[in-house]
Amino acid sequence: MGALVSRDLKLAVRAGGGFGLGVAFFLILVSMVSFGVGPQGDLLSRISTGMLWVGAILSCLLSLDRIFALDWEDGSLELLATSPLPLELVVLAKALVHWLTTGLPLVFASPIFGALLNLEGPGYIAIAFSLLVGTPALSMIGAFGAALTVGIKRGGLLLSLLVLPFYVPTLIFGALMARTGANGSDYTSYLLLLSGITCGTIALLPFAAAAVLKINLR
């Protein structure tokens, strides 16, 4: 599994799709929201935590199709499936790499983008913390969705469509946690719920994704 993780990280960096890309997309998205909504600071500040979470979800979405599709197209996935590596571990490795290249950079970048949206003081830690706890679930759910649609050429839009409903609980608890934090209240309960979702997905979805992959490879 280590070999797969390091290979995929190497590929992500070489293809110019490394750590910075997701962050840059996030930045642009945040400014798009302001362009769309208008420059009023108070308005932006009220929607800031929500928009940051929606932005995180979108930059995840846009990179989901890289999880399996490339390996599918060049035949590597078939070869991996007949190799000694269990497919469950393959899925885990892929989700991990996706998180390292997409989710984790967002955690660090979110406070800066919070500033663009006039986020209030205590919100900075809350948004970063909620993303740290929540984004692994996004990557894992995304890997499952990517496994479902791997046989479909350029299924990007279909994939987003399939995955978005699964993101709803994570989004709701994540955004609630961040919003509560920004208001200076106690967000422990949301934190617990969010970590519950993350742990659950990591424990169960690799098996579902591996099963789906096997079916798609037929």
């Binding site: 290979r7 590929l11 070489r14 590597s76 490879l217």
Partner: protein, 203 residues
């Protein structure tokens, strides 16, 4: 160690493509499948490799012994030839790729990105995965496509050496690979509905 197939039928896209297949391979033996386009060679090899379910009959083999290579090369364009091979070596729990590199004369290409190779060079790299895997049953789908005669010969010698060491090879091909001792199976005999006698190919 060996591969044992009896009364196998397989289907592709909901249509039965082959039936009544049976053969056995023992160490040192190669099997070559022949037959016109669309008869079911690729489907059969994928079934043997465990990628597709069987429709009927049995395949007795330890999947731990298999290594499969299909119509696609399975190379990462942004990794060098050496990195590609090293990755597969470590997936199969090996460290050493020097033998495979020697067998397919890849030493000069080792640093090149796989994406910048010509069709035949890619194919050569992808075939080098067989020795790299260290597994005993090689399953190859039209391995010599795009290869020039010299490279085709490298593959032939590599297979021969593998057979000598007690390995097995199962190959589907349209051209002559040059393994005179191999069992050749004409898949047209196993087309569903073909009335001809279906003798079970035995070793």
């Amino acid at each position: 160690m060996s591969l044992n197939v009896s009364d196998l039928s397989i289907s592709r896209g909901g249509v039965k493509v082959l039936e009544g297949m049976g053969f056995t391979t023992i160490p040192g033996q190669a099997v070559i499948f022949r037959g016109p386009n669309g008869i079911g060679k690729t489907t059969l090899l994928r079934t043997l490799a465990g990628l597709q379910p069987v429709l009927g009959g049995r395949i007795e083999v330890d999947p731990e012994n298999l290594v499969y290579s299909g119509h696609l090369d399975g190379l990462k364009a942004m990794l060098s030839v050496g990195e590609n091979l090293a990755f597969w070596a470590s997936v199969y729990g090996n460290r050493d790729i020097t033998e495979a590199v020697k067998a397919f004369e890849l030493n000069k290409l080792l640093e090149r990105l796989a994406g910048t190779l010509s069709a035949g060079q890619k194919r050569r790299t992808s075939l080098a995965r067989f020795p790299v895997s260290g597994r005993s049953i090689w399953i190859a789908d039209e391995p010599t496509v795009s290869l020039d005669s010299k490279a085709a010969n490298m593959f032939k010698r590599c297979v021969e050496q593998h057979l000598e060491l007690g390995g097995m090879a199962i190959i589907a091909t349209h051209v002559d690979i040059g393994l005179p001792a191999a069992i050749e199976i004409d898949l047209s005999l196993h087309k569903p509905g073909v009335e001809k006698m279906r003798k079970i190919h035995e070793v």
